[in-house]
Each structure stands twice: as structure tokens, then as C-alpha cells.
């Protein structure tokens, strides 16, 4: 019983990635063996080694299925020309929160990335790319808030660097805590409320002004 059509091969590849999400989420990345994934997917390790180089490569491919559509979304949001950059940023985040709550792939992959794997060099070039992605993300957020200051949406003496770090910590912390306890609150509704309050406080609170 050996599948041969290219369609069927892609099917098993996707099934392997689906299963990897599940097993990684349950047992953690480093604790799961390739035999675990293979048996859970109803195949043997031979199938895995045919489609992927090793566990790191499989992990990488699993992340790509989430990262690629996510990059399209954030890239699609025209950053400089938009009238209200803060509202656009909040809208993007709201979409992410919505995606994580409704798309099981997003949910599991983020769960694995945040709580079920160790960000050390053993994962190969994954950590490096994550660092680069984070730098890109930081620059993008920085531009958005600077843009908001220039447009008068935020006070002129806003401490943009502080705001950027606060936003990254808050938005990520909300997602991360929800993944740990999905029943604690409604990520889409309440997460958006939290960040909306944060956006509001940028205008009202003196704590975000530059230190004299």
C-alpha cells in the first residue's frame, strides 16, 4: 500500500504537518520523537524522512503554514498612507486574535511556539529568523507610532520607544496568557478591549511622555 500520485503525496505531507501540530502541542517539541508523529499520522518514519530533512525541518515547515499567510496580512496593511495608523494596527491585532481563536492551525502553532518549545540554537536557523522577524516587527511598530505622533494622534512628547516596547509586551502577553488558559477570557473580544484601552491611555497618561 504505497501512495504514488503527487496529490496523495501532498496529502500525506499535510497530514504529517497536522499531526505534528497536535503532538508537539501535547508533548512539547523536544519530547516528541519522529516515531510519535509518524505513528499518530498512520505512517512510518520513512514518510517523514522523505518529505522533511529532520525534526527541525518539519518544525520549520509547520511554522511556515502559519507565518506565510500572516505575513501577507501585515504586509497588506498599507502603513504610511493610512489615515489612522493606530486604528489600523488595532485592526490587524484584532484579526490575529480572531484568527487564533477560530483557526485551529493558528491556535496550535502559536501554542507550540509560545509554550511548547525552547528557543535555543538546537532548532537550527529558526531562532535567528525569529530574531530577524522580531526586529522587522519592531521597526514596523515604531514607524506606526511615530507616524501617529506626526499626525497629532499622539502627544508630541510621546516616548515612542517606550510605547513600542509596551505594545509588543502587552499584545504578545495577552495572546500568550490566553493560550495557556483559553477559558480565562475571550481573546477576540476582551483582548481587543485591553489593547484599545492601551491605545487610549497613550493619549491620556503622562507615564508615556518622555522623561524630563
Amino acid at each position: 500500500m504505497v501512495r504514488k500520485t503527487r496529490e496523495a503525496a501532498l496529502e500525506t505531507r499535510n497530514a504529517l504537518l497536522d499531526t505534528a501540530e497536535l503532538v508537539f502541542s501535547e508533548k512539547g517539541v523536544s519530547a516528541t520523537t519522529l516515531a510519535d508523529i509518524a505513528s499518530a499520522a498512520g505512517v512510518t518514519r520513512g514518510a517523514i524522512y522523505w518529505h522533511f530533512k529532520n525534526k527541525a525541518d518539519l518544525f520549520d515547515a509547520m511554522c511556515d503554514r502559519v507565518r506565510l499567510p500572516l505575513e501577507e496580512i501585515t504586509a497588506a496593511s498599507a502603513e504610511d498612507e493610512v489615515a489612522d495608523p493606530l486604528a489600523a494596527l488595532l485592526g490587524n491585532l484584532e484579526y490575529l486574535y480572531h484568527k487564533v481563536t477560530t483557526d485551529e492551525h493558528f491556535y496550535r502553532v502559536f501554542d507550540v511556539l509560545f509554550n511548547k518549545c525552547e528557543f535555543v540554537d538546537s532548532l537550527g536557523p529558526i531562532v535567528e529568523r525569529d530574531t530577524r522577524v522580531r526586529e522587522q516587527f519592531r521597526l514596523r511598530i515604531q514607524r506606526i507610532f511615530s507616524n501617529a505622533v506626526q499626525r497629532g494622534l499622539l502627544p508630541a512628547d510621546t516616548d515612542v520607544a517606550l510605547v513600542v516596547n509596551a505594545y509588543m509586551a502587552y499584545s504578545k502577553g495577552i495572546l500568550r496568557n490566553w493560550l495557556l488558559e483559553p477559558g480565562a477570557f475571550d481573546l477576540h473580544r476582551d483582548g481587543t478591549r485591553m489593547v484599545a484601552a492601551f491605545m487610549e491611555s497613550l493619549r491620556t497618561s503622562d507615564a508615556f511622555r518622555q522623561l524630563g
Copy 2:
């Protein structure tokens, strides 16, 4: 060359825990072998198996050196009798941020706990206890904010549950992001500013009021 005095034995035990912090932080918990820790500490695995049952037990003891003094601090803050519970909470968090930036043990253990280990059952009863600690923590935060509402420090229609989740996500996200990039901002100064702005926004923002 075999040490024998109880003093020397405690010395090697502490040295093992110190080394475990370093190696765990560098290679991740599951990727480090007991031989790694032993050789880095200048002993053999025999020393580890004498002082600890296995890697999970060693990990547990490493966490205890941080958890125990931390519990003393939070327990020492009288919760119900304090005049301004929000200020006391902020003070506690500021102390934690201060500790993490100045005490290398706190820094490394939190780094390991947040970014260098997988919270799965393979760590034994550690995950269960972490869940219990989180529940206790949630209850404590809940009491603090409810107390603040009753004392009129926060609006009467404050959505306490939402505030609790927001505080936990924010305060933890700040710490976690700083651990990933310690150079991004000053945790003690800026982290406190961020949470102070959050506390302020609880009074001013409508987003934290209960939904009609």
C-alpha cells in the same frame, strides 16, 4: 579527591544549581544532559545523582531557590489592610522587576522558565504546581482589584475579571519580552512606568467598564 564535610557537600550542591541555571539558559532544559551540567560544574554525574533524584528534581530545586524568597515577598504584603492596594501591587511588581535586573539567579531562572523550557508533563509535577501557583496568583490579584473597587479607587462598574486578565498578561508580557531582549528597555524603570500607566487607565478608560 573526594569532599566529605557537610559544608563542602552543600557547596557542590549549590554549584550544581548555579551551573544548571547557566547551562539550561544556554542550551534549553530538555537539550541539556546531566553530563553537561556535571562537566560544566567540574564533577561527574555521580554528584548530581547523589544530591538529586533526576533532572526534573534538579530543575525543581533550581526553581525553589527563586520561588521561596519570592513567596515570602508577596506573602509579606498585607493585602486586605493596606490603604492603597493598587499602589502596593505596583510596588510588589516593581520589586520583582528590580530583583530580576539585579539578581542573576532571578534573571536566569525566569529566563529558563519563560523561554528555555517546555511546560509539558515530562517535567513531572512541576506543571501542576505552576498551575496551582497561577490560580493562587489570580485569586490574589482578583482580591486586590475587587478591594480597590470597594474602596472607591476604581469605578464601581469596573470589569474586574477583565482587569485581572489584563494585568496578568501585561505584567508578565513585559517581563517575558525583556528577558528575550534585555537591552530593549530598562525593566525596572520603564516596566514600572508601563504598569503605572495601566493602573491609571483603569480609572480613565471606558474599555474596562462592564459591558452593558
